[in-house]
Subunit: 364 residues, 2 copies
């Protein structure tokens, strides 16, 4: 991955964002910029210098992984070490205060207080714009290839789910088979807690696999993803155990068409709000929109949920290289739910659906 | 679980902490107080009222799970809904400003800004003491039973690891067997990414299971835990593949004795720093303390890492009902590492080791 290029571009953007430094504490942002995959670190990016801080547990790993930065290992923890470094390297020559950007969406109120208490008086902490998240929204070719591999692995694993789903089998057992196969296939882990939600539980949009048995008849929502070399996949298919009656078929078909409509709306220049509206409009025609209780999708990459949010009224404009989910759903409380989700990458002329799995209703 | 008692005791503590309300946003704290297990929510605890906010995805689940609170489902998300509720319920009669505590260790700088922009002028946001974390440190009998079950399940699963470890097998395959067995045994998931680190990788204190093969000879650090009914387990055993030579045996024995010394130090009235010192002192005698690069342990409960931190110089005093790990380790860079970890509960007179697994060196 192009860590040094990413760091350089971030450095070049500091000045026009009126920052002398950016303190990066959000771990996926750290991984994106310098390659560190551990769970404790802070990255300080200055005009002419990049310093990565971690603690003793990650000494060897940091030296092996971190690209383009000086590595400092401290007993005091990354954040304190970083603040002390800033104090020791104050710009005594300048009469200007040093403006240190922090990641307001990630750093806690207490962490900011601790930083402030250590920093010298000539440093000014300032919540910075989401520079790295905005850069991460646009995946480069290497990232898209990595995401594609993760998506294809996820799609392969859907077969494992289909084999495991039988009336009476616990949802958690289906998840167990899936996750075992994922690990065997070199996934680092699942990108979020696996959702296997059968029968009335399918009406819970976030029905994590439970001890409930798969019912003799009804929908089963299967929403899962893997992490491969740091990148996440995310897909949902809803299958039917038994023979689906008219209402179930109608709702499934409506969700399938809504999802297709949203995918067809994805192209450069369109706002994410318009993509959301495309799905919602179709469900509205048949009075199902009130059961579509979440947004249409989200960006995916090093994190399972990252910008942009594909939601009503959002103004973010799609650009080539964005990778998003398209996942409308209909949840009728106490009855059943249906969700269908693909990952798509925005291309120069439209989009490409990464998830290869059929969306025809499968009856098991 | 005693959700209503926990909520009542928190309400009773507001006044003496000079708060009119506490806004709880840290999910494990929300679960502890009211039972909600979803991934989006905010809990507002006032003197005479408790209101839980979530979004549409969790409507059914919130109504089913949340104890002792009014449930409000909002399209705008939990935090905004909570701020708007506070604005709509301002105490017009009082001339005092309403002091709303926030969880400074958990709420982000950006979340605080968003809250501030909505709240009425008579509300004052103030980082609150860690009231809930302090309460959570002391587990009640029901919690200890739940933790014991999780620990025993973890210990059973160690046999799966022993069967899976063979030279040439990938670390990730060992993890796959473990995690599959955990799911089959009703674990909701693993409490952290499984560490299986063989050969020189054992010298990485946080060596997540990788694609590296188990070597023909050397240590394998196995650190893993399960989540059962929300409560975490955590254990580490280090086994040897092949016949351990003198140095390996000596280091293993040193860690084993250091761990035993720390366990023997655990009793009410002792500080956590003294427990850390007990392990470190023993390693110092044989010049291994410089390779013990992390703290001795941490609290465990609804979170895998929670207070107290068992670290050098920490002044927290052990009390009955605390559940902590004791896990010294020695990591010789580029050579090998050894860690041994049990969970223990502090009792009236000393402690009880929850982890039943033998610590004699196992050679496979």
């Amino acid at each position: 991955m192009d860590h040094k290029g990413r760091l350089r571009r971030l450095q070049e953007s500091l000045h026009r964002n009126r920052l002398d430094a950016l303190l990066v504490t959000h771990l996926p942002n750290i991984r994106y910029l310098c390659g560190f995959t551990g769970s404790a670190g802070a990255l300080l990016v200055l005009d002419k210098k990049r310093v990565f801080f971690t603690d003793g547990r990650y000494r060897t790993q940091a030296h092996a992984e971190v690209q383009g930065c000086t590595v400092i290992v401290s007993k005091k923890g990354a954040l304190v070490a970083c603040a002390e470094w800033l104090r020791a390297h104050r710009k005594s020559s300048s009469r200007m205060r040093r403006r240190v950007g922090i990641e307001g969406e990630h750093i806690t109120v207490a962490e900011r207080s601790r930083l402030s208490s250590i920093l010298p008086g000539d440093s000014l902490l300032r919540p910075a714009p989401a520079l790295i998240e905005r850069s991460r929204m646009l995946k480069d070719a290497e990232e898209i290839e990595q995401i594609r591999k993760a998506v294809l692995l996820g799609a392969d694993l859907f077969d494992v789910i289909l084999k495991a789903i039988r009336p009476g089998v616990k949802e958690s057992e289906v998840a167990a088979e899936l996750e075992y196969a994922a690990r065997k296939a070199a996934a680092e882990g699942m990108s979020f807690p696996t959702i296997i939600a059968g029968g009335t539980r399918s009406s819970l949009p976030h029905g994590r696999a439970s001890d409930a048995p798969i019912p003799g008849s009804g929908f089963v929502v299967c929403d899962f993803g893997v992490i491969l070399a740091g990148y996440c996949s995310d897909m949902t298919r809803t299958v039917f155990v038994g023979r689906p009656a008219g209402e179930a078929r109608r709702v499934y078909e409506a969700v399938r068409r809504a999802q297709q409509a949203a995918i067809e709306a994805v192209r450069p220049g369109v706002t994410v709000g318009e993509v959301d509206e495309a799905a919602r409009k179709l469900l509205k025609k048949i009075n199902l929109d009130r059961y579509f209780t979440h947004s249409t999708g989200h960006g995916v990459g090093l994190e399972i949920h990252e910008p942009p949010r594909i939601a009503a009224g959002q103004a973010e404009v799609l650009r080539p290289g964005m990778v998003i989910t398209v996942e409308p759903g209909v949840y009728i409380p106490g009855k059943f739910g249906v969700r269908i989700e693909d990952m798509v990458v925005v291309t120069e002329r439209g989009c490409q659906v990464l998830t290869p799995t059929s969306k025809t209703l499968i009856a098991l």
